[in-house]
């Protein structure tokens, strides 16, 4: 099985490749820009429009590559954090480790009867009380963001309102519960018993 260091190396190689592609696209875009201006000076309107079309396509590609670059950055930061915990002997815990059957393990704060579903784009997991609708009685664990480098958790009450650690609905600054570096997080007062 690959170690965190192996994964970090692989992600680093992907990032390097992405950066090279991004640099190539930036250069090509700059050249297309110059070409467009030269055609424009010559009064070649068709060729000017064609060069502008190429430039826009290249810029669009560059934006996609920049997004991929940001994502690999986040993956590297996350892998580095996990690797640091492994090396320090601490618990290396992903937000929701898999069970032997490959399903997300039930994290703290989730009653045993609740169902789980995963995003189609890998950004989070949600557990929900069977039979509840919308956001009612759900716990959602989300991947890291700039503000929450270890991810964050959202707890929703029976009315579908996000709640803070005091167990009450509140402003969004209080209802995004940060995940700590070791993968743990606080549970709101009065939240469901794990053993429910």
């Amino acid at each position: 099985m690959a170690s965190i260091d192996d994964l970090t190396t692989a992600i680093g190689a992907v990032k390097e490749r992405i950066e090279r592609i991004g640099a190539g696209l930036a250069r090509s875009s700059s050249l297309a820009n110059e070409l467009r201006d030269e055609f424009a000076d010559l009064g070649a309107s068709d060729k000017t429009a064609a060069a502008e079309g190429v430039r826009r396509e290249l810029e669009s590609g560059h934006r996609i590559v920049s997004d991929l670059d940001d994502r690999t950055d986040r993956l590297l930061r996350r892998a580095a954090a996990l690797g640091g915990r492994e090396r320090s002997g601490g618990p290396a815990r992903p937000l929701a480790p898999a069970t032997r059957r490959g399903r997300p393990a039930r994290p703290r704060g989730v009653p045993s009867t609740w169902t789980v579903s995963r995003t189609s784009n890998g950004r989070g997991l949600i557990w929900q009380r069977p039979g509840s609708l919308g956001n009612a009685d759900t716990l959602r664990i989300m991947e890291p963001t700039d503000r929450y480098p270890n991810g964050y958790v959202r707890f929703y009450n029976r009315y579908g309102q996000p709640i803070g650690l005091d167990g009450k609905p509140g402003p969004r600054s209080r209802t995004h519960i940060p995940v700590r570096e070791d993968g743990t997080y606080d549970i709101p007062q009065g939240w469901h018993d794990d053993a429910d």
Binding site: V110, T115, R118, G134, M142, Q161, P171, R172
Partner: protein, 143 residues
């Protein structure tokens, strides 16, 4: 751009406490927690915060009974237009989730901090009991 199949849905209930939550007769729920702009049928524009109790209380009578004409997400912004000509726009928030949608078949869309979307499709094969049997839903959303 992500199209959402809310067209023709009528807002049947608006929760009067924050965040702004409204439900359609077809079982969709829309939640807005951060800044939003609402333009009514007469063109009057209101800039509100979805977690402000007074703003949420004021939105109830404005939204209740409106029928959606079109709905779309672009660059993390949710845009709902109504048959009356009213419009609601909820842009992404750099630090917090700004808005979310849930559908009758388990569809779920969340605008994460910064505008990235987290998407749960109906009928996702990963949707299972945490330690138990699989169950399925019918795919209805169009991404």
């Amino acid at each position: 751009m992500t199209q959402i199949e809310l067209d023709g849905q009528t807002i049947a209930r608006v929760v009067d406490q924050p965040p702004l939550i409204f439900e359609t007769g077809g079982g969709w729920t829309v939640t807005v927690e951060s800044a939003l702009t609402f333009s009514d049928a007469n063109g009057a524009v209101r800039h509100l915060e979805g977690d402000d109790p007074e703003a949420v209380a004021a939105m109830g009578p404005l939204l209740h009974g409106l029928t959606l004409r079109a709905s779309a997400v672009e660059d993390g912004s949710l845009r709902l237009t109504f048959t009356s000509g009213a419009e609601l726009i909820a842009p992404p928030d750099p630090d917090y989730e700004s808005w979310g949608l849930t559908g009758p078949a388990g569809q779920r869309l969340v605008c994460m901090p910064g505008g990235e979307l987290a998407i749960w499709d109906a009928g996702s094969t990963s949707r299972r009991r945490a330690e138990g049997d699989a169950f399925s839903g019918e795919p209805r959303s169009r991404q």
